[in-house]
Amino acid sequence: MKAAHDCRDAFADELVGLARADDRIVAVCNDSVGSSKLAAFAAEFPDRLVNVGIAEQDMVGIGAGLANAGLVPFVCGAATFLTARALEQIKADVAYSAANVKLCGMSPGLSYGALGPTHHSTEDLSWLRAIADLPVVVPADPAQTRAAVRWAARTAGPAFLRIGRFPVPDVSPPDGPAFTYGRAARLREGSDATIVATGTLVSRALEAAELLAGRGVQARVVNVSTVSPLDREEIAAAATQTGAVVTAEEAVPTGGLGAAVAEVVLETRPVPMRLLGPRTFAPTGEPEFLLEHFGLTADGIARATLEVLGRAGA
């Protein structure tokens, strides 16, 4: 499995393609033409790029206003500034106002590495999952990213797309849809335990399942690309059929994917769980190092799975 893709490229390319076909599509950003990969969009549609400068509350409010005027705004900014700085605008102007705004959180998780915790977006899933009527979508590879952008463009109403920067390999099966809103995808069958992962961690979950297979443990792997609303059936089936669940995400599990899965497991079929994700502010280091630091590697996920199974020493 070769780690190759920055999902922002797929996002930006898909957005330009959609904008060619639909002149209602506009991009809004906070001085992030480069980091949101909007240079090609800006070159082809200079009038349809609204760069508000470094002003996230303004940016999200303007997104809601553009939607009111009949446009389809993709509001792009580094995930942490978009969600933390403009959280109340996301709640009131976008979600509660049912505005047709596509919030695009770029470079989420730990992907800003040594720039430090001020730039890491590890709380966004928790915050946004708490907001009613706001779909929270986390694509795991370029194919999912493209499909999620197409879904957002054609579906009226608010959405948050978390667009990864950390290089990831392709994980979507070549046959079948890369992304179905509200549905989790079972990428590997298994009956001993389930690894539920999202975004960057999906490919690592698949690698962990390989490692586990080598030790006689058949782990199921579920890719949750719609974190909210969560695919309750798939999670309940995982708990019921495999009896142990590990979650992995590039976000705090307190409120993010881990908590979301735990809620469903608790309400349907309580089984032993481990929730993997950063639980402290990250130390200094590049993203790969930080993922390792927090145990968000194939090894770390496999180890956690064995622990849940009570076979850590096996």
């Binding site: 506009v26 303007i62 005027a69």
Partner: protein
């Protein structure tokens, strides 16, 4: 009436509103002033009654913004209350969402929904929440309540309408206290930079915020200069003088500049014991105060 009712257009009220607009267009200045004063007086009485019945509301600010809303909805905004999402409509965004009763009442005078629904204000499951929701109230462009949200949204609307080649205008009504929120100045800068001449901000400058005078809290002055420094045209008018408001909003535009109308108002306007009193920010009149307020509003002959 079920309080969870869906609000639908009131066609009789729409017809009356259309007749009023024609009358205002034909009237001389004195006639126009009298008609707007009468309408505002009726709205004030309904506001007082609605708040007293509900036991909830922001009485002082509702009364300070009433003349602004009355003037805009009766004489300025191009709307189709039978089709609240008509793409070419002018947009009015009430950023000071706590003054929802004045807005709801004004919307009923245009026929967006029947006035009977006002009696459900703040009741369980009523579409008429303490703060206006786009989800449940036709004519509400964006849900407001948290302060400092209306102007960024209005700026987005103005940018979007211009992109679409629409001539529709955008008006944002702001409280003065909420200008302490930095988001307004982010938006003011964007509007000035983008030369949004279809955008008008009206500041309900009553000088009071929830806890004290704005000047004793975090002073806003020199307010007009601040807007001008952000690339806006700024004018100051008496915010209870309907014709002055009308002139300020409709005067020919300096192309390339959004306009800010600083409307000097009195919080609690029209009820002597509420006027300019900080405690009436969200106090609800008791039965005796309600009788006195309604009597005073009736006596004033709607002409003050």
């Amino acid at each position: 009436m079920s309080t969870g009712a869906e609000l639908r257009p009131d066609h009789q009220a729409i017809a009356e509103w259309r007749r009023l607009r024609e009358r205002l267009a034909r009237a001389d200045r004195a006639g126009r002033a009298a008609a707007l004063a009468a309408l505002a007086g009726g709205i004030r009485r309904t506001v007082i009654g609605t708040i007293a019945d509900a036991g909830l509301g922001h009485t002082g600010g509702d009364l300070s913004v009433t003349d602004i809303l009355t003037t805009l909805y009766a004489a300025v905004l191009r709307l189709d209350p039978a089709d609240p999402s008509w793409p070419e409509r002018d947009r009015l965004i009430l950023s000071k969402g706590h003054c929802s009763v004045a807005l709801y009442t004004t919307l009923t005078t245009c026929g967006f929904f029947p006035a009977e629904h006002l009696s459900t204000f703040a009741a369980p499951l009523s579409p008429l929440n303490g703060h206006p929701s786009r989800r449940s109230v036709p004519g509400v462009e964006t849900s407001t309540g948290p302060l400092g949200h209306g102007l960024p949204v209005g700026v987005g609307v103005a940018i979007g309408l211009r992109l679409r080649g629409s001539a529709a205008r955008t008006v944002v009504v702001l409280g003065d206290g909420e200008l302490q929120e930095g988001s307004n100045w982010e938006a003011a800068m964007t509007a000035g930079h983008r030369r949004l001449s279809s955008l008008t901000a009206i500041v309900d400058r009553n000088g009071l915020q929830q806890g004290a005078r704005t000047s004793d809290t975090n002073d806003l002055e020199p307010l007009a200069d601040k807007w001008r420094a952000f690339g806006w045209e700024a004018v100051e008018v008496d915010g209870h003088d309907h014709l002055a408001l009308l002139d300020a909003v409709t005067a020919p535009r300096d192309e390339g500049r959004p306009r800010c109308v600083i409307a000097r108002t009195v919080k609690g306007r029209g009820v002597s014991f509420m006027e300019d009193r900080v405690e009436w920010h969200h106090r609800v009149p008791d039965a005796e105060q309600t009788r006195a307020a309604l009597a005073e509003l009736a006596e004033s002959g709607d002409a003050r």
